[in-house]
């Protein structure tokens, strides 16, 4: 039996979208953007559910965000999570990774669990820190960038992804913390009906005040960042852009390949 806690984050999906910055260039305008679960976290959530399915135990999902993130918590419930907790973003705006981790830890620290999972990083900020800082706050062993996980009840054998197609096999005693890398599994499809059925299930809510966190620990005050300026990189391409009709362009490309590639 392995009780798992998963931290999930809702992010703006920017793949096909045009991003517009706000007026003072400190943030992105989210009106036209579609929100969804952070890609790494969806793998972590799926892994948590699989652990529950094979070893038994409970799954608790947490999310720190505004009230929209209840969508991803409902998704977690639909996938099979036993309990979900929403930590309201109020007070946490402008937090750095430590601030976010403190918020999550204040909820996690009060609970019993065997395994804590997070995604490696968020697709928006890409810090890659929260999961490991949680491990520090909770004084737990951890392993990051895990692409394969084997549960042995009192310990895990995990495969960490290194560079150049190499992996590192690590033994991690439980309770412990693992940050999950993409590709570890295939997250299941969650049907609309499945989500609708969770309509009446409770989502526990809490916030900075209730958790007794002080401004000096979280938010802009608690952050190590003084200021952030965003900018969209210039469109300038350094490549020599081939011009002409598609046929002409393809001919040119082929001659380049032949010339430089030394193929027959």
């Amino acid at each position: 039996m392995t009780d798992t806690i998963v931290c999930i984050k809702q992010v703006a999906e920017v793949e096909d979208a045009d991003i517009v910055l706000n007026d003072d260039k400190t943030g992105v305008l989210k009106d036209d953007l579609v929100m969804g679960i952070n890609e790494w976290d969806s793998y972590a959530l799926e892994e948590a559910i699989r652990i529950k399915e094979s070893s038994g135990g409970k799954v608790v999902a947490l999310s720190l965000g505004d009230e929209d993130c209840q969508d991803i918590l409902r998704r977690a419930l639909a996938m099979g999570a036993d309990e979900v907790v929403h930590i309201d973003k109020n007070g946490f705006e402008g937090s750095d990774a430590v601030g976010v981790a403190r918020g999550l830890a204040s909820v996690i620290g009060k609970r019993h669990f065997d395994l804590l999972l997070t995604g490696v990083q968020g697709s928006d900020d890409g810090w890659g820190q929260v999961g490991i800082i949680l491990a520090e706050i909770l004084d737990l062993p951890f392993a990051s960038l895990v692409v394969r996980l084997e549960n042995h009840e009192d310990h895990l054998t995990v495969y960490r992804e290194l560079e150049s197609n190499t992996q590192q096999i690590v033994e991690l005693p439980l309770p412990g913390v693992v940050t999950i890398q993409t590709g570890i599994n295939i997250p299941r499809y969650v049907s609309i009906m499945g989500i609708r059925r969770t309509r009446n299930l409770p989502i526990a809510g809490t916030g900075a005040g209730q958790l007794g966190l002080m401004n000096s620990e979280i938010g802009t005050e608690g952050s190590c960042v003084e200021s952030r300026q965003l900018f969209i990189p210039s469109d300038e391409a350094n490549a020599e852009m081939l011009e002409g009709t598609l046929s002409e362009v393809c001919e040119k490309a082929l001659s380049i390949i032949r010339e430089k590639g030394g193929t027959d």
Partner: protein, 665 residues
């Protein structure tokens, strides 16, 4: 001697017979009950209703075997012989019982007629059975399987019938009745026996043998293919009943995914293989056949939810070993074209069964093909399955000044619902652009919804995501009500079918919504009207051999075949040719059932290429379609088949515009 029959003439130990009968009937009843009760386990219900039309259709199909004659008169005839032979003999046996226990009516002339008819029915049964066996095992007709069970059951019946004649023969040899001429077959058979005594002793043996074989058959009936005698008519009747909408509150728990009707379908299947013959997926060499799927589903029901003996008897060994492969892998090939449902003599809609299991797979979530999952997620987030941003939905109308819904003025006139594929796919956008040009020329007052046009949800329904479908439906209906849209015309037959047939189903169960408060037409219907009213005129001649590809959702699903043809034929210079499969027999293009948004199911000649080959074989220079998915898939097929020089694929709108002397860039 008065012509009559003494039932237990010269038979001792009749009590044994009664015992055997009781046992046989008990087993029969238990088996029948068990199977019928298993239907009740089904999840979704039906609106049970009675209709005289349905009943008369049913009677024609059951007693005349109308559907069995389709495309195979040999099958129809042999089945009719077997059916009537069997029913006749059954009626005859009942008459004998009435005669023996109630009222001695079979005497004199009535008996002679009775005897004559019995022989006739017996001969019908035997000849039908023999013909069936010859077709299956000697002519080796492709779709007919050649398993032991397919040999044993007809043989069993044959033995019962033949033993009946032998019984009659030996009895006549023993009795030497004067009226033998009325039972000529029996008379002939009686010559097998030399003397009276030999005949009598034979008679006794044959009597018991006949009894055992026949009673055994009765007892075994519910456990063999013969059960279709109850299941198939039930399936036929139920297939005509209107479906009940799937309520979101109904949990699709394991074992509940199949509707009651689907469970009946599983039992009604006689493995005749007509579905597989017409299935586009199977014909293209894909690893799918409707028959094999139905039998897998049947096996799964029996193994998971029946008792083990039931599993054994109901065909655990029927289906080729699938070694634990999930049935979820077998359901994504179906394009929902409907050819199988059309072809099935038992009225089975394999599509419905597939849809039920797709719902189950979707709810489970772990075995959903990845690309499909992505498509459904795209539909949820962006209101279209193409992954394109909502904002771009109306971009197809650039340069055309198409009126659309705006905050200020409430829309007036006909609403043109373009649909997702027509709005986003660059090739299919030509359908919309051509159509609005035609409407403009014809002076039709219309508008589009514009960039807020939602997805009708059809694809969600086809792949089993009922919840998403209902979500989309609610969006659409709310939009229609908000803008008081009552008259729609669509590009896609899929949207058309959804609005026309699926929406009322769901809307009517919710009293607050007005069921069917809007009218919907497919554009071919509208264009035909415009042509008849003279609002469309063909100025140019198009000297081409043209064939029309009937989209499944326009033709087979909604019986709309004529309008496009009438329009095409009205174009000067056009020579209309038909492909080998047209109208209700049309071959699917392969784009439906969610196939458009799935990984390629590897096979040599794709479904769409097969269709294009038919167009080529018919000598067509142009293939005209009336569906955006057909347009895209068939055009792709022309390219991959290398026929770009000889064949062109156009939507009907594009052809009309050409003939009107206009051109849409």
């Amino acid at each position: 001697m008065i012509p009559q029959r003494e039932l237990f003439w010269n038979i001792q130990g009749v009590w044994i017979f009664y015992l055997l009968v009781s046992v046989s009937i008990l087993i029969f009843a238990a088996g029948m009950l068990a199977r019928v009760l298993s239907w009740a386990r089904g999840g979704r219900g039906l609106k049970y209703s009675f209709s005289l039309n349905c009943l008369s259709d049913l009677l024609l199909d059951v007693f005349l075997g109308r559907r069995i004659f389709r495309n195979d008169p040999g099958a129809g005839t042999s089945h009719l012989l077997v059916l009537w032979g069997f029913l006749g003999l059954f009626a005859g046996t009942s008459m004998l019982m009435v005669d023996h226990y109630l009222y001695h009516c079979l005497t004199g002339l009535s008996y002679l007629l009775f005897s004559f008819l019995m022989e006739l029915f017996g001969l019908m049964l035997i000849s039908g059975l023999c013909w069936g066996l010859v077709r299956r095992f000697i002519f080796k007709i492709g779709r007919l399987e050649k398993r032991w069970a397919d040999l044993v059951v007809p043989l069993w019946l044959l033995v019962a019938a033949l033993s009946g004649f032998l019984l009659e023969g030996s009895r006549m040899a023993a009795q030497e009745p004067a009226w033998g001429g009325w039972s000529s077959a029996g008379l002939l058979t009686s010559y097998l026996w030399g003397g009276h005594d030999a005949a009598l002793s034979s008679y006794r043996i044959i009597w018991w043998a006949h009894a055992l074989v026949s009673l055994g058959l009765i007892a075994a009936l519910p456990f063999t293919k013969l059960f279709h005698m109850l299941a198939s008519p039930t399936a036929l009747y139920m297939s005509a009943l209107p479906e009940e909408a799937f309520l979101p509150e109904q949990t699709v728990k394991a074992g509940q995914a199949l509707s009651k009707r689907a469970l009946v379908f599983l039992d009604a299947c006689t493995r005749c293989g007509r579905c597989t013959e017409v299935c586009p997926s199977a014909a293209s060499g894909e690893d799918f056949s409707p028959r094999r799927f139905l039998l897998s589903a049947r096996k799964r029901e029996a193994v998971n939810y029946g008792t083990l003996p039931a599993a054994f008897l109901f065909g655990k060994r029927d289906v080729p070993a699938e070694s634990g492969e999930s049935i979820y892998n077998r359901i994504w090939n179906c394009t929902t074209c409907g050819a199988c449902a059309d072809a099935c003599p038992a009225g089975i809609s394999t599509i419905e069964v597939i849809n039920c299991i797709r719902s189950e797979a979707i709810e489970d979530g772990t075995d959903v093909p990845q690309l499909l999952a992505k498509t459904l997620e795209s539909l949820t987030k962006h209101d279209n399955p193409w992954g394109a941003h909502r904002k771009k939905r109306f971009e197809w109308s650039q340069g055309l000044s198409v009126p659309s819904i705006s905050g200020a003025n409430p829309p007036d006139g006909l609403c043109y619902f373009a649909g997702c594929t027509t709005s986003f796919d660059t090739r299919a956008q030509m359908i919309a652009r051509s159509f609005v040009s035609i409407l403009d020329q014809a002076g039709v007052n219309f508008f589009c919804i514009g960039k807020d046009e939602p997805c009708c949800g059809d694809i969600a329904r086809r792949v089993g995501e009922e919840g998403l479908f209902q979500f989309q439906m609610e969006n659409c209906v709310e939009l229609f009500e908000r803008w008081d849209i009552r008259d729609l015309v669509t590009s896609s037959p899929h949207c058309f079918n959804s609005f026309k047939n699926d929406y009322p189903l769901y809307m009517s169960r919710d009293d607050s919504q007005k069921a069917g408060s809007f009218r919907v037409r497919h554009y071919t219907q509208l264009l035909k009207e415009l042509l008849e009213q003279g609002k469309i005129r063909f100025e140019r001649s198009i000297p081409s051999r043209v064939t029309f590809h009937d989209p499944c959702y326009l033709g087979r699903y909604n019986n709309l075949f004529d309008a496009p043809r009438e329009i095409i034929s009205a174009i000067p210079g056009v020579e209309m040719v038909e492909m080998e499969h047209y109208g209700a027999d049309s071959l699917c293009c392969g784009g439906g059932g969610g196939r458009m948004w799935q990984e390629d199911m590897t096979c040599k000649v794709t479904i769409s290429e097969r269709r294009i080959a038919e167009a080529d074989a018919a000598g067509a220079q142009m293939v005209i379609t009336a569906c955006p998915l057909c347009l895209i898939t068939l055009e792709d097929a022309v390219k991959t088949a290398g026929l770009e020089q000889t064949l062109r694929v156009l939507d009907l709108n594009e052809l009309i515009l050409l003939a009107m002397g206009k051109r849409e860039k």
